[in-house]
């Protein structure tokens, strides 16, 4: 009798391989999210600066990120940079560069939005208390910004986690790639593909779901 498709997942180290692939996905996403948060803060503040040049620079950056498919950006960095500058970047590094380029702009725009959504009276009444500019930011504006920002930032983070699936196109062996390898080995098993992708779906769900629960919790908690 032929095995059920799902059983192939428990043959040998297949499941472990999937988990290793998932770890690659997560590592990539976490590095990207961390860097995007740090650079995004700078980006957001630049967008709010009174000077024209940084503002225009950030706007252009954001537009590029919005209209360029991430996959194209990945190809440009992974294949293009090697040809153009002779940089032989490995897939993961290329992915971190591209996703951070994207995440920085998106996060920066969220930070800008959160900062501008705070009424002017908050700044003014903090100023009227005689607080310095730095302290107004530290005690009044940033805490409120973070509260508005965090749910949206978490949503962006889950988007980043999902988008990392693209890196299999530049030869990074993340969870989806591992899945395809497993399916390839069991090509005789017609329903293997379904079960492998189903498990990958579950894995993504298990990773992203807590994030969206957290986002929803924070949203209602701070509303």
């Amino acid at each position: 009798m032929q095995d059920l498709g799902i059983s192939i997942l428990f043959k040998g180290v297949n499941f472990q391989r999937l988990l290793m692939g998932l770890w690659v996905t997560l590592r990539l996403a976490l590095i990207t999210i961390g860097l995007s948060g740090v650079f995004g803060l700078v980006f957001g503040l630049l967008m709010l600066s009174k000077r024209k040049i940084p503002k225009i620079f950030c706007r252009c950056w954001l537009e590029i990120v919005r209209f360029m498919p991430q996959l194209v950006l990945l190809y440009i960095v992974y294949f293009g940079f090697a040809r153009l500058f002779g940089w032989d970047l490995d897939g993961e590094t290329s992915a971190v560069i591209v996703f951070t380029f994207w995440g920085t702009a998106e996060m920066g725009d969220l930070i800008r939005g959160a900062l501008t959504s705070i009424p002017r009276h908050q700044t003014e009444s903090a100023a009227a208390l005689g607080l310095t500019k730095g302290r107004i930011y530290l005690h009044v504006l940033i805490p409120q910004t973070v509260r508005r920002l965090l749910p949206q930032a978490i949503n962006l983070s889950t988007r980043i986690i999902k988008t990392t699936a693209l890196v299999k196109m530049i030869n990074v062996t993340e969870v989806l790639k591992v899945g395809q390898q497993i399916i390839g080995q069991f090509y005789r098993q017609p329903d293997a593909a379904f079960w492998v992708y189903f498990v990958i779906f579950l894995l993504y769900f298990l990773v992203c779901w807590p994030f969206s629960l957290l986002a929803r919790h924070l949203e209602s908690h701070w509303a």
Partner: protein, 262 residues
């Protein structure tokens, strides 16, 4: 005679269009309560905002206890520590409990020890009847309670002068008096104040002196008795009349209606 706290000399201020303040001068002495009234858009808020540096003035001079405070940028926060201000909108910091709102200025701007500030804050809250709200978040308070906390927050800085800009304008009518009573209490305690208000009966009760501002100039100045009962200018008379209502004539024969929309 008591010392002059605030001296505003011939200040001018315009935004894009014509001048909003066109040569305003005034002097407020220690412990004095000056009420500024005038029609909407005459520059009352702008005047108060210029005093604590939220707006820059185009010309003129502002002094606090003799020290020039206008035209500064670098150490403006030090000036503002001596000038309290409460606005019309509820401007408590929504992410902080009442107690943290009250402590922020004294602890973070003045560097006073937290425990001492907390004790004082509780006493002040007691005075305005909100001691049990120390740990509450602003959004759980009523408008009147918020404005009382905002007053306490400004007072916690022990300012030389308190500027109040229509602090009851956004309140439901039944909450106005609980806030204004706190102001009257502060006035009795000797607090120096410049108050902008549309509550004329309150103005009359609290003021030592009334200024009537119109189109960016002080048109009339006098004691509350004089200003409210025998205004000198026709403009002031008309302004005061806008707060009274003509009695209905011919009451006989009109059936009382119970129409709520009427």
């Amino acid at each position: 005679m008591s010392e002059t706290i605030l001296e505003v000399r011939d200040i001018h201020k315009s935004f894009d269009g014509p001048g909003v303040l066109r040569g305003v001068s005034l002097e407020i002495r220690e412990g004095e309560v000056v009420v500024i009234v005038g029609p909407s858009g005459c520059g009352k808020s702008t005047l108060l905002r210029c005093i604590n540096g939220l707006e820059t003035i185009d010309s003129g001079e502002i002094r606090l206890r003799g020290e020039v405070i206008s035209g500064r940028t670098r150490d403006l926060h030090l000036v503002r520590q001596k000038i309290g201000m409460v606005f019309q909108s509820y401007d408590l910091f929504p992410h902080m409990k009442v107690m943290d709102n009250l402590q922020l200025g004294p602890v973070r701007a003045l560097g006073r020890p937290k425990a001492e500030v907390e004790r004082e804050a509780l006493e002040m809250l007691e005075r305005v009847g909100l001691r049990d709200k120390a740990q509450a978040l602003p959004r759980t308070l009523s408008g009147g309670q918020k404005q009382r906390v905002a007053l306490v927050r400004a007072m916690m800085m022990h300012p030389e002068i308190l500027l109040l800009d229509e602090i009851t304008a956004a309140l439901d009518p039944e909450m106005v008096s609980e806030v204004l009573n706190v102001v009257i209490d502060l006035a009795s305690g000797g607090m120096t104040m410049a108050i902008v208000t549309h509550e004329m009966r309150f103005a009359e009760a609290v003021a030592d002196r009334v200024l009537f501002l119109e189109e960016g100039v002080i048109l009339e100045e006098g004691s509350p008795e004089q200003f409210f009962h025998e205004p000198k200018t026709e403009r002031a008379r008309r302004f005061l009349q806008s707060f009274t209502y003509a009695a209905r004539r011919n009451r006989d024969g009109i059936q009382p209606k119970n129409n709520p929309g009427d």
